[in-house]
Symmetry: C2
Subunit: 898 residues, 2 copies
């Protein structure tokens, strides 16, 4: 999938891409080597390959000595005709002129003033051919050899049709490059990171820590010299200015895959084995993750993802506990809830108006007893507290993560590291080349498509909702056959459940569709750099997937049962479909069910099916192609070498899907937490599994990704921040409009005769005179309940039939609406203020880290001062005729020498 | 005032302070010298003093050669008895032991385990004496001389009782210190900052630019070497670790003042003269400020203030224009405004209920015609647009400033500069010493005091409001004497105006009081560092002054006329004072008058009186002390030297008052802009004067401040940000609750029979049956209007006397309330979203600057590469037995060499 972006470009001229790579590819590869071989460790702690005397543990070249550091794969050609052999020289000339024009372009930052006629002539016949690929390969390999790298080819020994180019970086080369790149060298100074109190905490939580690196003291940090760091950045600047070339060659089919090799598995003390045992196993689910080792093996970017996931999961623990307490509070108080008692009380013989035209008849309010009791579980004053709690929790989480990130930055020595600037994407360069011909910009088009897509999405959502409505209506017809009330209520529950399941299935299917759409749109846009490509893709995917996941929930929370009209004046859509109505206190219940099923189902299906199942099937299919039975397969596997085994693993597709999944979950946890306090618990349970599942995937299922540096989680942080802001207003609306919290309060303090909740149910129901039914809408079986109904009740605040303005919205309606809105304003502003306060209260940099940084600075200054002092002394001795008295300076300028 | 913080400490032992200063003072002074003498310019572009052959232009020592770089003043003692001469040795011993205990404290970061008995014994008898001062001075001066500085004393030649210590830093010392501190050296490389298009813009706007540095090209920027920058920071770290000592000596009275010298005035081509002509003059009010020169002369901190003030003023221009257009729209549509037409129409013979008990009588609505028409000017749909515009304007302003700051940081080469860490305040150190004895922490006490102060403030506000109410009541009594309606309405307007003026006077008086209170509270708190002292002081001052300035406005906007009750059931406070009522559409009008008078008055009085008047008076008094008449004075002035002239100038009191004034103004402009669209215009006019006024003050009225570096405007930015956030919600409430915007909309779309505004006035008035008056509250003159009144009207939405629930809040009230609240929610969230969008849309770093930074980076890399290449070549030649083939690297690695 890393290469799949490239699929559309496989017919583009290799030569052009090659130009880009010639000067740059080498460095990119070099950087990978150094990162990989040294495992991000200081070079001088490694032993030279040549010097090591023991047997080689890693995969090696045929001689059993030289280690394989990186692998490129390609399709092996059949010995073909030399049809285009003569064209090679011509191609080389094109290459030269292209290179020339390209360098002109770059140096001047302007398009070439006039086109090279040679290129123009060849432009249309540069179709991509096997020979060209081979030529590219040869050229590229020569380049690598020139750099001092050692190559070995392994063509079609085991896996037919695939050739491997194994690359080894000799110790000399590494040293030279490391020296040239001034990799950060640790100085002799070390300082204690862990204080005494921390040591105690460490002791107590010892069983929670994974058993990693037992001999290496964790509390010693090498003090690295910022000057070499500064120089290193300058080198990186150099690297940045060149392109990343490997993706170009991959996308073009010159090579089919490029990956560094995994460690051996089932070989003790190797990082991968430790990760496998102490991280990628369900049996250690209660332990912290070995973030340091993850970072060492996979690089900072993946390390940060798992660190973030860990912090999120850890933070979910208190949220889940409070959520469960809130839910239990609901359970405990359900028997004391006066409104549901009133509903369930058979003495309150309230006759309700029919829920649908003609087919439905009048019904007794007490049949809604179960729903009323159930909805109390999620709709009680504790949920208001809980949603405030969760808003603050979200703010705390963001702060906590900022601090954790800061700490990791410090421990991983990234404090001085600046995000590398962007490489121009090769696609963009190509498009620029083509655009000079076509003179068109796709960007506004994409915006248009994206805007057009929104109504489409609304349409899809409507279709889903409408589908579910149709489903319900058909079920209701079936319901009508039976006259047993318990069977009816059972069926009603079933309907709600199955409708939610249908929604879920549609969500999951559309999720994949939207993912593809976002990718397509972003490709169409041709962003300038890799970073902007990634960001735009993420934003588009986020918008589409988020809308997809949340539209049914938003419908249930805010629109369902709002625009139904009233008995005698119902709102009809598309002919004669009456808008759906909620049963008494029913919408919240359905919202809960929907949230519950979406969360559980999405997580279970997406985790199990997509993350475990499909990769396994893919692997199986890939192996099936080789037509062997299981025993043969196993034997065959035994003979495979590391690079061949890794070839059968799935490619690394980036972290975006993992982050996306978590962000959507974060949305579920924060956005509608007011209606479903168990959401954090569900999320917690899922994440405990998710961490180990992802770990297993990274350790055993996919090829080893190239280590990438990163200082933060990038755009995901902004999305999280945005979500936690939106959550405040959404929760305010859920509490005030979806739940009965405000009407209850208003009744208690404004209308209740005795200040209690008694009479609340009666207060929420309006009167309807059955003679006011529109013709053809009155129930067919008016005597269904056994008596003739004159006045039926419905849930709304409207005037009585016998008032001056019958069925108008009553004063109570407006009063309650005003209170609901006032609550939204108060809630939003208070919670925002509290969040800002939390934000301001918790410093972004942990105290101990800032102290450490300060201490290191002092040490650095001391070192530097001594150095300067030496220089100065030397100079002073040299020039004794200095016109002023040299003043002696103390060697150390710390205040203690005051 | 810089020294006034110290007043409370003048009886503390000098010796202790001296310890702190001995090791640190020298460096602080050194830094000042270098900053001042080099004028923040690269050293190597300066000529040596010794080398300059022409006559000295600046103030010099007696020999006419050595320039005076810095001046310390002190009281000259009369030749006194040698009473305490013998105690000097004892004091020296105390000094030693204090020094010892202090160094113990610092090195261990813990209080000394046991006290030196010697100190304890002396602690209480160390009263501060002239002899001690003299001893301190001698010691300090010796220290300065040891550093290589040259001193000259000038005692009581012209100004009796005051001695001057003139300090000269010889060229050698400067060079040595500069070398030691590795001041940033410009390299030879320069790059074009200004593009061609900018040059064009520059040409067009040429008359707007001040005539500064005509010969020096503005588009050349020196590329400074980041390595020396890095090292420089290390040096600054060293400096930071020591204390700033000069304030200690000043506070203690050892010296009475310390200031660098101004340039000569009326001497062409000197910076001060250019500033005086091209900046500190009203005649150049339309020109840009010479920010570069301001920064060169006063340092970055003051430069940033004026840059900020300039950006703010510039941004006010569009706001003022739109505001005037909105106001003119109100003027143009006032004749078409149906509600005010209805009020003014004599055919609508509406009798209103009396506005006060007994004394007042019924009145005709058409007497409120003038107010209604006037309030239309500020209350029309355009103001809604304007407040949205101003919210976005505030967001734009913040973004614009961020960009400007970034640009200045780049031009002033501060991009690599990190904010210096804090010095511990000497007061704090002293308090720590004392606390080890007293064992008490003031901090919680201060919080308590501050919290106690809040109710006090509320009390003061109430007192103000109440005073104004009493004032009104007394005037109303006078009003009653006259029966001429025009006289009445004139008097009513006068009452409003005079009440606002009274408020204004109280605000201004309390402003000073609160400033002193904030300072006192912060001193009580003893913050740890200078920076935290400043921040805490600013926050406290801001809270108090802001509440002071805005409480009458908030009262008028949101509370006035809200809780009046209704006829027959008025709300009474403190016995029999009826809460104030607004005339029809009157509250908004009064709010406008209050805002107008506060803005104009505060600015005029504070600017003219406090900023010009009082310093002039002070100066006058200071001169009067010397008992000379005007001619003598002038003659005397002629003979004064630069350092003596500067001594007569006021001390520099920091930028806080200037910023505070502007922040309060920003609050006025953004917070209540919905009710007063002319606020930006007033602010603009004020600021145009303010800039030049401040400029004049800095150039001619106060001593030259010590140049201070700063990267940003610090906490003021956060306060601005907070204000612009609060502004959104305040404007939402003003529009929906203070103005009649929502009731009009609701009437038009819900109640109006023909969809027009006709009948709106009638709709807003409820009916009252005069027989329902409480006993003793009915008007004494019921026949005042000439007929008997049965039913009078009042402005509220209540049920009619003949309904089932007379005088209850009506359905319309609740409907309108709901709409008002809904508007607040929609307005707040839409505007917040739009602000965030603006924030996101405008990049923080201007495109050209980020490009420039990138280009510089490439240049740096090139330079560095060449350097490295040289080193490598040297090394390679040295060790020819290298085990691998040295690969040749191109000298330049820019992509153009691809």
């Amino acid at each position: 999938a890393e290469g799949s972006r490239w699929e559309g470009y496989s017919d583009l001229p290799c030569l052009y891409l090659f130009v880009c790579i010639c000067s740059s590819m080498s460095r990119t590869v070099k950087k990978c080597f150094i990162d990989l071989v040294t495992g991000l460790q200081p070079l001088n702690s490694l032993k030279s390959d040549e010097a090591a005397s023991g047997p080689k543990q890693g995969p090696t070249f045929q001689d059993g000595q030289r280690r394989v550091d990186y692998v490129l794969t390609y399709h092996v050609q059949k010995p073909q005709s030399v049809r285009r052999k003569t064209s090679r020289f011509a191609d080389y000339r094109i290459l030269r002129s292209l290179r020339r024009s390209l360098s002109m372009m770059r140096s001047g930052d302007t398009p070439p003033s006039k086109e090279d006629p040679e290129i123009a002539a060849h432009k249309h016949r540069l179709d991509y051919h096997e020979d060209d690929k081979r030529f590219c390969q040869t050229e590229f390999e020569d380049n690598l050899r020139e750099m001092g790298l050692e190559l070995e080819k392994d063509e079609g020994n085991k896996i037919p049709g695939i050739g491997f180019l194994k690359i080894h970086a000799p110790w000399n080369v590494l040293c030279r490059e490391a020296e040239f790149m001034k990799l950060k060298m640790p100085t002799k100074k070390v300082c204690d990171v862990v204080e005494r109190i921390n040591l105690f905490i460490h002791k107590v939580t010892a069983p929670l820590h994974p058993k990693v690196e037992p001999n290496r003291p964790q509390n010693v940090k090498h003090l690295s010299h910022p000057f070499s760091r500064e120089k290193q950045h300058l080198k990186f600047d150099l690297l940045k200015m060149t392109f990343t070339g490997i993706t170009s060659l991959l996308g073009n089919g010159v090579y089919t895959a490029a990956y560094p090799l995994h460690d051996m598995l089932f070989y003790p003390l190797l990082s991968r084995q430790i990760l496998y045992e102490e991280w990628a196993s369900y049996s250690v689910f209660y332990k912290y993750q070995p973030i340091g080792l993850i970072r060492k093996y996979f690089g900072e970017k993946i390390g940060l993802y798992f660190a973030w996931l860990g912090v999120y999961t850890q933070m979910l623990i208190p949220a889940a506990i409070v959520g469960v307490i809130v839910f239990l509070y609901g359970c405990a108080t359900v028997d004391n809830d006066i409104p549901s008692m009133e509903i369930c009380d058979p003495r309150n013989n309230i006759t309700m108006c029919p829920l649908c035209d003609r087919a439905c008849s009048y019904w007794k309010l007490k049949t809604a007893c179960g729903t009323a009791r159930a909805s109390h579980l999620f709709d009680n004053p504790a949920t208001v507290f809980f949603s405030i709690f969760m808003a603050l929790w979200a703010a705390m989480f963001m702060e906590h993560w900022k601090r954790r990130q800061m700490r990791l930055n410090y421990i991983w020595d990234l404090t001085g590291f600046e995000e590398e600037e962007d490489h121009h994407r090769a696609e963009y360069e190509i498009q620029v080349m083509q655009k000079t011909l076509k003179k068109q910009d796709m960007s506004p088009k994409v915006v248009k498509v994206f805007l057009l897509l929104s109504p489409l999405q609304v349409g899809v959502t409507f279709a889903v909702v409408f589908g579910v409505i149709l489903y319900r209506i058909s079920i209701r017809a079936a319901l009508h056959m039976s006259s047993n009330p318990t069977a009816r209520s059972n069926i009603r529950a079933t309907v709600k459940g199955t409708a939610a399941v249908i929604n879920l299935v549609i969500i999951i299917v559309m999720d994949e569709v939207y993912g593809a759409v976002a990718r397509w749109l972003t490709l169409l846009e041709v962003p300038k750099t890799d970073k902007s490509f990634e960001e735009r893709l993420i934003i588009k995917t986020f918008v589409l997937k988020f809308a997809n996941a949340f539209s049914p929930i938003v419908y249930l929370a805010f629109f369902r049962g709002r625009m139904v009209g009233r008995p005698g004046d119902y709102v009809y859509v598309i002919g004669s479909y009456r808008m759906e109505e909620c049963a008494h206190a029913g919408c919240l219940m359905e919202l809960c069910i929907q949230l519950c099923i979406t969360m559980l189902g999405k997580q279970l299906i997406q985790n199990n099916l997509f993350e475990i199942g499909i990769p396994k099937i893919k692997k199986l299919i890939r192996r099936r192609k080789s037509d062997m039975d299981s025993q043969q397969q196993q034997d065959y596997n035994m003979t495979l070498q590391r690079h061949e085994k890794d070839h059968f693993l799935g490619p690394f597709v980036g972290l975006s899907p993992e982050y996306m999944e978590m962000i959507i979950q974060f949305g579920m946890v924060t956005l509608f937490v007011a209606s479903f306090p168990l959401a954090p618990l569900f999320a917690l349970l899922n994440n405990i599994i998710e961490i180990r599942l992802d770990a297993k995937k990274f350790v055993t299922e996919v090829r080893r990704p190239i280590a990438a540096r990163a200082k933060d989680i990038g755009i995901w942080y902004n999305l999280l921040r945005g979500l936690s802001k939106v959550a405040v207003i959404v929760n305010a609306f859920v509490i005030s409009f979806t739940s009965d919290f405000i009407p209850r309060l208003v009744y208690q303090y404004m209308y209740s005769p005795d200040g209690s909740m008694h009479g609340f149910v009666n207060h929420t129901l309006s009167y309807f005179n059955v003679s006011d039914f529109q013709t053809g809408t009155a129930p067919l079986q008016p005597m269904h309940l056994g008596y003739e109904v004159q006045i039926c009740r419905y849930k709304d605040y409207r005037e009585t039939p016998w008032s001056n303005t019958p069925y108008d919205l009553s004063k109570e309606f407006w009063a309650i609406l005003a209170c609901r809105l006032a609550f939204v304003i108060v809630f939003q502003n208070v919670v925002m203020l509290m969040s800002d306060f939390v934000d301001w209260l918790i410093p972004d940099i942990p105290k101990d880290i800032s102290l450490q940084i300060h201490k290191e600075k002092i040490l650095m200054v001391e070192l530097f001062m001594k150095e300067e002092e030496g220089k100065k002394l030397l100079r002073d001795n040299h020039t004794n005729q200095s016109p002023f008295q040299p003043r002696s300076r103390p060697a150390s300028h710390t205040p203690s020498n005051c």
